[in-house]
């Protein structure tokens, strides 16, 4: 059986290439049909915000890639409840079909469930 991998994405979408590069690992894993989870934590939760204007920053829009995750078979998506609350974001603002908002305690259990973890 394939080993499972959790990617923890902690960078804001427009703070550099880190958010995109974390997502690229997820998409590559999906292409190989591997069991991949993606957790948005700290500033990484900003990636989930609707209404981003990438053009104003002369950047490419990342949110389209996020929406493509299900096409790659990635449906294990998580967000850290504390990270959302610290930034004044209501879970309803970022609710997606596959997104699960987890408490600190649940996060611990999540990380334990995965064989390997990459934090970017």
């Amino acid at each position: 059986m394939s080993k499972s991998l959790l990617i923890i994405s902690r960078q804001a979408p427009w703070s550099g290439p880190a958010a995109r590069e974390a997502l690229d690992i997820v998409l590559a894993g999906g292409a190989f049909d591997l069991p991949i989870g993606l957790l948005f934590m700290d500033d990484g939760v900003f990636q989930l915000m609707p209404g981003q204007n990438a053009k104003a920053l002369q950047q490419k829009d990342l949110t389209a890639n996020l929406q493509a995750l299900s096409l790659f078979g990635i449906d294990a998506l998580y967000a850290c409840a504390d990270s959302l609350a610290d930034r004044g974001i209501f879970p309803t603002q970022v609710a997606g079909e596959d997104l699960e908002v987890l408490t600190a305690e649940e996060l611990g259990a999540l990380v334990n469930r995965y064989d390997q973890v990459i934090t970017l």
Partner: protein, 130 residues
Amino acid sequence: MKFAIALFSAPHAPSSRRALLFAQAALAGGHEIVRLFFYQDGVHSASSSVVTPQDEQDLPRQWADFVSEHQLDGVVCIAAALRRGVLDDEEAQRYQRSAVNLTAPWALSGLGQLHDAVQAADRLICFGGP
């Protein structure tokens, strides 16, 4: 134990030094390194263009020597490398760039190699990141 080692930080970051020390200690302890995978700013540690002042540790040189000596599989993510101007001969020609700064023992390849290493290893050890 079989280790896969991923490096995400630039050569001058302390975590990059720790990565090399860890890799050396792993082999010295009789463990196996299935692959080194350099991603994000970690790709700069595979660049032959880095010039370190004489009285400082030349980490890219030390990595290359270490990988050569132990005949390790040193893989540099091609997308991350291209973005940061780390090119082997083939890519420099493809994109018509004048400088080649990635040579043996390093190889450019895709993120599939990271996933492959994750599957092959007992432990994935990451250095760098936020």
